[in-house]
């Protein structure tokens, strides 16, 4: 994985020093809250419902064991012994004291981590496929371009005060696991007829109160032009994005209002202008330097079939279920990708204790080349595990309550922190996810239901990605009481769609029964082997509407 050079380290160290001074001046009263608020947000410090919250950047979701151990240490020393992995592949601590934040940042800097650009109207953490470097159909490791964008966008002077926050995601495979079409910019790595690698560009996707699917504005941007092309997009947005209305400030509103064709025309015009005045070219030697950090690890030559694995699957039904849902195909014979569910039955989606972080760090060090990934679906991934080690890894995970066999199934839900933690939320998300998880805990039933993504948000800002859940749940406040609105048919993959609102909202007491009714309706309607989302696409919303509201 990428290692800081002297410039990266110096930049992070200087920021720690700068923010330490700002915190000291705030605590002594030299800075007012109004003056300080912008500064703390630039360093990932929010004021939430019960305390401050610190958001730590995990670039494109990749962590070394050493970094994860440091996060475990910070959780223990300065927080309450746990952290929360987010849909931006980042980590949040819910209880840090402001006076401790400078020490936390120093600890983070010691393992090449920081909180820069995890808030504010700038380019946020670039996200990508958690299977990067391991997926079978990958054209190029998306972490290379993600790292290049990270370096380019860090403290970019022109793009530090955009009309609104800006999120970029990259996918290196045709199967989109990075939700690129619901990002401000989505980058799909593609290959042209001459076998050259380039980038298909989507612009203006996003969730929040106005969900939009990104529009394609380029079929192929050559490799060396990528940064110049991104610069052109950002420049058009910086010029024409609305600064007068926070709800209309994202690039998706601009693209929606002027249309994809006009956006393309403006970006192309700006791109041509940039090229005239000396475009930002990506030199091959710099690309090669960064590529070297993401070279394939030292795989062993192994037979694809593992007798150890086959025996263990037959002997241990729990393991067999886990292999079925949590293990994915790897590009190398004899290797597999392991997904670690952070969704234990009845647990909080994305929460991970310091002890669990230490355990995962040890397992990653021993069995997956010392690194791991955070997924935007709030799980963890070990990208390169030998098939013959899978049972040992499963047992080690199980000892720390990390072997829930539910990845991609109905209890593998995304949920934002909601009103249990968040100052913006209108309703709680986590307890709804927990009760759904408990209702559908039976593993055989989960496998029978098959792939089904339920995403819950506690407010219209949609941090829980409810618009793109196959079933989406949005918490709303009606006169101080929590209600839950349901959408159906959303998806965040290569067939991205925004879900349709099924009807009037449900009370907290009704919502889990409503989800069960939806699932029962699906089971009674599906064709052999048909997933929930495919059934929905075939039959539409009416059967679900009927079964949900017929008796109301």
């Amino acid at each position: 994985m990428y290692r800081y050079d002297e410039f990266d380290q110096q930049l992070v160290n200087e920021r720690v020093k700068q923010f330490s001074g700002q915190v000291a001046r705030r605590l002594s009263g030299e800075l007012t809250e109004d003056e300080f608020k912008q500064l703390r947000l630039m360093n990932g410090v929010y004021l939430q419902l019960h305390a401050y919250m610190l958001r730590i950047a995990v670039p494109y979701g990749t962590l070394s064991s050493k970094q994860l151990r440091m996060l475990a240490h910070i959780g223990r020393k300065y927080d309450r012994g746990y952290g929360h992995f987010t849909t931006r592949q980042n980590l949040q601590f819910n209880w840090p004291a402001l006076k401790d934040v400078p020490d936390i940042l120093r600890d983070l800097a010691s393992v090449e981590m920081h909180c820069i650009q995890t808030s504010g109207n700038c380019i946020r953490n670039v996200t990508t496929d958690q299977y990067a470097g391991a997926a079978r159909d990958e054209l190029e490791d998306p972490r290379i371009v993600s790292e290049i964008i990270r370096q380019w966008s860090t403290f970019h002077p022109e793009f530090s005060f955009l009309p609104r926050k800006f999120k970029i995601a990259v996918s290196g495979t045709p199967d989109d696991r990075a939700a690129i079409r619901v990002h401000d910019i989505g980058i799909q790595i593609v290959e042209n007829d001459r076998k050259e690698i380039g980038y298909e560009i989507f612009v203006g996707g996003g969730l929040g109160r106005t969900p939009m699917v990104g529009k394609k504005i380029s079929d192929f941007v050559p490799k060396e032009d990528l940064l110049a092309y991104l610069e052109a997009i950002l420049r058009v947005y910086n010029m024409y994005g609305r600064r007068d209305n926070i709800y209309k400030a994202r690039i998706k509103i601009l693209v929606h209002e002027i249309g994809a064709d006009e956006m393309r025309r403006q970006v192309e015009a700006e791109f041509a202008e940039i090229r005239k005045t000396g475009a930002l070219h990506l030199p091959q030697e710099e690309i090669s330097r960064i590529e070297a950090y993401f070279r394939a690890p030292a795989y062993e030559t192994l037979p694809d079939e593992s007798t150890e694995l086959n025996k263990a699957v037959l002997a241990d039904p729990g393991f067999a279920n886990w292999v079925k849902s949590n293990v994915a195909a790897h590009k190398m014979p004899g290797y597999a990708i392991v997904n670690i569910s952070l969704k234990p039955i009845g647990g909080t989606p994305g929460d991970c204790s310091s002890d669990q972080m230490d355990a995962v760090a040890d397992i990653a060090e021993k069995f997956s080349f010392d690194e791991l990934r955070v997924t935007h679906e709030q799980n963890l991934t070990l990208a390169h595990v030998r098939k013959k080690d899978l049972h040992t890894v499963y047992e080690a995970l199980k000892a720390h309550d990390l072997a829930t066999a539910n990845v991609g199934l109905i209890t593998d839900q995304i949920a934002c922190p909601g009103l249990d933690y968040c100052a913006l939320a209108n309703a709680r998300s986590i307890p709804i996810a927990q009760r759904i998880s408990e209702r559908f805990a039976d593993i055989e039933r989960q496998h029978d239901i098959g792939e089904l993504k339920i995403n819950t948000s506690g407010c219209i800002n949609a941090c829980g990605h409810h618009h793109v859940g196959h079933i989406g749940i949005l918490g709303v406040d009606k006169k101080g009481v929590e209600y839950y609105q349901v959408t159906l048919g959303g998806a965040a993959d290569e067939k991205t769609a925004v879900g349709d609102i099924v009807g009037p909202a449900f009370t907290e007491e009704q919502i889990v029964d409503a989800i069960e009714t939806i699932v029962t309706t699906y089971l009674g309607t599906r064709k052999q082997g048909e997933r929930f989302i495919d059934t929905y696409r075939r039959v539409g919303i009416d059967p679900f509407k009927e079964s949900l509201y017929a008796t109301h």
Partner: protein, 111 residues
């Protein structure tokens, strides 16, 4: 700032977060900031509520608290109760982690 109280609320109290650690606090009748809602001063009527909020200003000025605001409460035999789900959670802690927050530390936290 978002509205955390409703127009015409009869009883209101003042809450804020402590600057140095962010912990939720309530303004008491004696002008202190307590971690317990049960020690909060309760104002009846709009004018008394605004006067109570004005009493938060010195603590903002001396940098001990941030973002003070009024919120609706009710009194019953159990003591002072926050009216909204949001403020109930804020004075108690996450409903999904009963081992954390004031509910784990203080007596008389209501759910």
């Amino acid at each position: 700032m978002a509205q955390h109280t409703r127009k015409g609320a009869q009883f209101q109290a003042v809450t804020a977060n402590r600057l140095n650690d962010g912990i939720v606090v309530y303004l008491t009748a004696g002008g202190r900031w307590s971690e317990s809602l049960q020690e909060a001063a309760v104002a009846e009527g709009k004018e008394a509520a605004e006067a109570l909020l004005a009493r938060a200003e010195p603590a903002v000025a001396d940098n001990s608290i941030v973002e003070p605001y009024l919120f609706e409460v009710a009194r019953d035999e159990g003591g002072i109760r926050a009216a909204s789900v949001r403020e109930v959670i804020r004075q108690a802690g996450p409903t999904v982690r009963l081992d954390l927050g004031k509910q784990a530390e203080l007596p008389d936290v209501h759910r």
